[in-house]
Symmetry: C2
Subunit: 410 residues, 2 copies
């Protein structure tokens, strides 16, 4: 989980050169805190986007996917709001997403069709466009190169902490910075459930080259976390590259790998912050799946474990119930050979075998229980079938999760 | 949910002629209550079986599937135990399942390879065969035609109530009776998660004709319920037909339909009893999916809603959060047309439209809330795509569910 790439203290989307941001209160959050945010680049950005696979895509997702397919090299801004998702709002919703984008463009003095929009919150409620436009004007008047953290705070819903991160690395031609903000908490699941993430970089990018890089990164980070197994209508991850550093990482193989590692480091830190801040979560669970025939099947097994409510409640109860973990793996829809399975759990980097050959390993019960009492629990399941692997993260399922979601006003 | 087929008061697997059962304490449950059960038919039964799709099939599942593929017309008994699942127990586990079957055959004076076995409970613990064999001998000595309810009680784990049901209907050639017992509670999900169900009938059956009938029934009942979205290693549903009534329903189309309806009625009653008794459940939710292109896709949409923890917590909180229901439907992996979707909820048979055309329907908020405060909540989602439909049942997700599963000893 650690990265060799130097981290920027208090880093965010405004850490890379040429990006400014600000947040404002538009009257959506009842406590008067900022609920809209605006991120602006001083020049056009090459932009990659990964969107929800939910069949009911919210208006901002439809709007952004359409805009990016038309003008992936011309983006200048991202306008965001919390509290109202603008999902299941029909044709009016799509018009509202467009109006929100136009409001951002006008407020920041940008050309038409250069702003993307992100919304999160309650489904089925019309977006109050006039209020949001007013908020975006306030934000546009206050854009600064330190505003990224404020933007991260504005998009929080049931999140308890703003999520932001940035890294910077040297290249022979100068520095490249990658930053990001995200919101998550409930509904997080592989396939990008109610997750908003915006990453920025001052590297030079080409949309056609940026998209596969970002796709790989998202699969290994935002699509590898699960809070409650639900997927949402609004999930969006964006990567904007404005080229202010004047360095194109795609020119050189080693540099391209270094750049992808930096994007991965930022995305992974944000993804783990989301899981750790899962609704009601008290523990982080890292599930390594090794010995698979493909990375995709390894991830499927990890996801099946990560979304099992029986596993997640056992982990909340500090119960080393490895049978539930194997049963959840068995439900992944991946062919398994029972007699080749090994399940281990770690304490201080030492692995304890909980089950081997698909049968009881009679582990040291006291040590197993101590492992499951840790705040971060690392599991490793070896399928014994091949050489591919994947890592998936989740949190425990607690009574607080139920309370938060039973009380969330529709 | 009602059936026109007359129900037998306190009916169970021993309601059809020629079946006897008994339960005994074998020292597995710490409270001294019965934990093993034996069901015996006076003659050979044609038997249909539906087993878990979990890749890690428990030893009794492997044993039974193997036995049924060899001798589907020769079954005489079912031996059952609670507390220990005999799952993830390797080659020793399979030997233990075989020893348990042999113990049942010897205790009841039956030919070899005529007893099926069912186990439920904790995974990864060796089956105490000697104890269970002793319990089965005690049960065999006490077999009665009233013992079915005791058997239902013996296989309970976190169930709070025994589940049993039987119906009887007239035919021109005499009466046919269908009965059943089941256990469920946690881990219940489509694809048969930790669910044991044994159905019996005195109709004449042919294994090759019985199996497709039972497959259809299981898809519409045990595979249409969800408590927590988890699937298990041990799920098994059996239907034994001993022919004591001397009537073969397959001889006549109308009679065949009547027989399938009777099996469906018993299976549905048991399945609903399982959901209503879901771990910590306080509400039953019926989800009708209509207007689908196929029954399978209708069921997929229903299941996606039924397993959504966000939907289930909203229902616990009596929150008419229809956006979460649509978002869950959208995550089913089924192609949907947002503008054709309609979602309704019922109170006293009157339907209230919550969403139409994929957009806000601005329902009467007080009435919507009243609907979601009922103990049984009926939802209907019309996909507007075709004429196929399916019904799925689930329960709410409560803090009690988390407590029960955090405390269950592994």
């Amino acid at each position: 989980m650690s990265s060799a790439i130097p981290e920027i203290p208090n880093g965010s989307v405004t850490s890379p050169r040429g990006f400014t941001a600000a947040a404002a209160h538009a009257g959506l959050k009842t406590d008067g805190t900022p609920d809209v945010a605006l991120l602006v680049s001083s020049t056009s950005c090459a932009t990659a986007g990964v969107f929800t696979k939910n069949a009911l895509r919210a208006a901002p997702v439809v709007y952004d996917a359409d805009l990016l397919s038309e003008r992936p090299g011309r983006m200048r801004a991202v306008a965001m709001n919390a509290r109202i998702a603008n999902a299941c709002t029909g044709a009016d919703g799509l018009a509202a997403a467009r109006a929100m984008a136009q409001a951002a463009e006008q407020a920041a003095g940008l050309p038409p069709r250069t702003a993307l929009v992100l919304s999160t919150g309650v489904i089925g409620v019309p977006l109050p466009v006039a209020q949001i436009a007013e908020g975006l004007r306030t934000a546009a008047a206050g854009l600064t190169a330190e505003g990224g953290v404020d933007a991260a705070r504005a998009i929080m819903t049931t999140d308890t902490r703003p999520k932001h991160h940035a890294v910077r690395f040297e290249t022979p031609a100068g520095m490249i910075t990658v930053g990001g903000i995200a919101k998550g908490a409930g509904m997080i699941h592989p396939d990008m459930a109610t997750l908003l993430a915006v990453l920025t970089t001052d590297a030079v990018g080409e949309p056609a080259l940026l998209q596969p890089v970002f796709r790989r990164v998202v699969d290994r980070t935002f699509n590898a976390i699960s809070v409650d197994g639900d997927t949402s209508t609004n999930d969006t991850a964006l990567l904007l590259a404005n080229g202010a550093a004047g360095i194109d990482p795609a020119r050189d193989g080693a540099l391209a790998r270094q750049f992808e590692d930096a994007v991965l480091a930022v995305a992974r830190t944000l993804a783990l912050a989301i899981v750790t801040d899962g609704e009601g979560a008290s523990k982080l669970v890292e599930i390594q799946v090794v010995g698979a025939v493909s990375e995709a099947s390894a991830r499927d097994v990890g996801r099946a474990i990560a979304r099992s409510t029986l596993v997640k409640t056992a982990i909340y109860g500090a119960d080393p119930n490895w049978g539930r973990i194997l049963a959840a793996a068995g439900a992944a829809g991946v062919a398994l050979a029972v007699d080749r399975l090994t399940l281990e759990a770690a304490e201080d980097g030492e692995w304890l075998t909980l089950a081997a050959g698909g049968a009881t390993a009679h582990p040291d019960a006291a040590r197993a229980r101590a492992i499951f009492q840790q705040k971060t629990i690392r599991l490793r399941i070896d399928l014994g079938l091949g050489r591919a692997e994947a890592v998936v993260w989740t949190c425990d399922l607690t009574p607080d999760y139920v309370r938060i979601n039973a009380d969330y006003t529709s």
